[in-house]
Amino acid sequence: MMPTLQLIIIPMAADYEVRNINLAVADHDHSVYTQQMVQKIKSSGYFKLVNYSSTFQEAVTSIEADKADIVLEIPAKFEQNIVREDHASLFIAVNAVNGMKANLGAAYLQNIIQNYNNQIRTKWVQFPPVPPQTNITVSVSNWFNPMMSYKYFMVPAVLATLLTLLGTFLTALNIVREKEIGTIEQINVTPIKKYHFILGKLIPFWVLGLAVLTIGLLIMRFGYQIHPVGNVLILYLFASLYLLSILGLGLLISTYADTQQQAMLISFFILMIFILLGGLFTPIDSMPPWVQKLTWLNPVSYFIDVVRMVVLKGSGLSDIKNHIFVIIGFAIFLNSWAVWNYKKTS
């Protein structure tokens, strides 16, 4: 239930595309040109005009009240200056609390203004506007996600994150619960071996994890219409290995914690770091080099990577073989640590 809900809500919410930028215009000129320009900005689809006033103060107030993201100030005699003096200047003030949005928003706005500028120029300069000058045309094509939809990017990764959360939390809490209630003593007095006990705890959750993955893939396929390009079996293979390592992490935490509160906090703390640094929200490539080195120790980043590669790009086994080896390594390491640290006698 909880994973389903998350899988539905997060991708809907996680849309980083910058559009709907609220624009306030302070127009001191009120000429035909300013009208045309503002019209052009509005029709670009990126901007929403929320305030059109004659004073800069009013426009800035709308930024302070968080109503506007960008203020465009058009000076008096804007049109006159372009025509007579050959150049005019505009002032743009951006609310930069959110740096990325500010940067892109300002770039879009400048782009539109440049376009408008070219439009005027061709209107005024009748003859071959400028001597034939060197021109490089750039064509851009985006592969694997031609619609440039954020959902394609987020849904697989959110699924990977959910699997991680579920696996770690449930295993971590399960054993500690037995510790807290005291039933673990009863198990300890049985002749069962340490690794039998650990395996016995692990397998049900492993099956549960694969079931959640199946549900998630169905939602992805039918709810979001994302058809995995690669082979789903590869995904299952990797996920089953990954689940082993992440369940091992849960077990490890549970062998260290004494109370459920502790187990929960410790897993929350570790997972928070893993997920934030796993490349779900921000690209790992943008992190500073020392952090990028740290992400090699982060199982979550491998899984998110593989899910995206298989679902979106159709990567095959040979493309992800390194990921597979690393994840097997994690599984062995974490589980043996957990078995080693689990003591039957307190």
Binding site: M12, A13, D15, Y16, E17, D66, I82, V83, D86, H87, A88, S89, L90, F91, I92, A93, N95, A96, V97, G99, A102, A107, I113, Y116, R121, V125, V130, Q133, T134, N135, I136, T137, V138, V140, S141, N142, W143, F144, N145, M148, Y150, Y152, F153, Q260, Q262, L265, I273, L277, F281, T282, S286, P288, V291, D305, R308, L312, K313, G314, S315, D319
Partner: protein
């Protein structure tokens, strides 16, 4: 009153004894601030680029040189034909391929017209868009170096000022968000679990026969966590000022009292959760589902609210963290006064009262 303080003292012993929990509670804000401040950035740089150069002449070399010295691209591999492009992307490291057609220099010098193709890995649309924008800008720059551009007539110049955050640091929007998250977590989650734990262990009955009123018992349990949260607020503020260079532009007292208000709101939420659950696991799941997830998703520091579908935007209004995030952003980053946040403050106070009312109502019916 004396009994009340005795209870608070007892609760402090509880927390103090559990060193691991205490360590994590106090360490959490520090790690979060450091991760958010140093590691998480949406800025795209050092992206791996592959080069497919059919031309191999002076101009194409120059262009490649120019691209690779920019901080945005690292030319990591050289391809020789189109068939290699897809496998390269599938390996997952390369984000963009720069394709230079044959006779690039020739076309430039004699035909005055040349083509460049950029192939981006669109699986992350934002990175793809940003990369193609940067690359196009570099190519245009390269072009204008070739032609010493004459001053064009009828120019419109733009002058841009980035308000509040001229260096466009991500930390400016993350710090208030982290604050909301940590407060929610320590206050609501820990309080609810601490209370439910007593229920689960059966010790609640013992406490309830003490002369203190039941609600007093619960409040006494909440107060230590409230103090812990305030310690966290101060840690976050100190770290952001001295480590991340995020200034506190507004009134510190106002900021702290809003922090206290939000702490009380989270506390009320925690009480409500504890009054409707009986097991720690359930309390934890509800806290995660009902607090942590909405706080991250709807407060607006991770995901832009204005891009969400309308039903979600409406839903975001019932999340207290959203209002707190707005308040902190306004006071701390923009440096504005109380008159800009009084509405949001009233909403938070209203929410707190409603939550307290609900939990008192539920509490009585369960424990009498």
């Amino acid at each position: 009153m004396k009994q009340f303080f005795a209870f608070i003292k007892k609760e402090f012993f509880h927390i103090w004894r559990d060193k691991r929990t205490l360590f994590i509670l106090l360490g959490m804000p520090i790690t979060q601030i450091i991760i958010f401040g140093f590691a998480l950035t949406n800025e795209v740089k050092n992206s791996k680029m592959a080069i497919l150069d059919f031309s191999k002449d002076a101009s194409s070399k120059q262009l490649i040189q120019k691209m690779s010295i920019s901080k945005y691209f690292d030319a990591t591999s050289v391809l020789y034909n189109y068939q290699e492009v897809e496998p390269t992307f599938k390996k997952g490291k390369v984000k963009m391929v720069l394709v230079i057609p044959q006779q690039f220099a020739n076309d430039l010098q004699h035909g005055n017209q040349a083509h460049i193709q950029l192939i981006c890995d669109g699986s992350d649309p934002n990175v793809a868009n940003t990369l193609s924008t940067y690359a196009t800008a570099i190519i245009k720059d390269f072009q204008s170096q070739l032609v010493k551009e004459q001053k064009l007539p009828y120019r419109i110049e733009t002058d841009i000022r980035m308000m509040y955050n001229p260096e466009l640091k991500g930390a400016y929007s993350f710090v208030p968000g982290v604050m909301a998250l940590i407060l929610m977590l320590t206050c609501a989650m820990m309080t609810s679990i601490a209370i439910v734990k007593e229920k689960e262990m059966g010790t609640m009955e013992i406490i309830l026969v003490s002369p203190l009123k039941p609600f007093g018992v619960v409040i006494a349990k909440a107060i230590p966590y409230m103090l812990l949260s305030m310690v966290n607020v101060i840690t976050i503020l100190l770290l952001s000022v001295y480590v991340l260079d995020v200034p506190i532009r507004g009134n510190l007292i106002l900021l702290l009292s809003e922090g206290l208000l939000f702490t009380i709101t989270s506390l009320a939420l925690g009480l409500l959760i504890s009054s409707i659950t009986d097991s720690q696991q359930v309390a934890m799941l509800i806290s995660l589902m009902g607090l942590f997830l909405p706080t991250t998703v709807f407060s607006g520091y991770m995901f832009p609210i204005e891009n969400m579908p309308i039903p979600l935007q409406v839903m975001s209004n019932i999340v207290p963290a959203k209002w707190f995030y707005f308040i902190v952003k306004t006071i701390m980053i923009k440096g504005l006064g109380f008159q800009y946040v009084w509405k949001e403050t009233c909403i938070l106070i209203g929410m707190t009262l409603v939550l307290f009312g609900l939990s008192i109502k539920n509490f009585k019916t369960r424990l009498s």
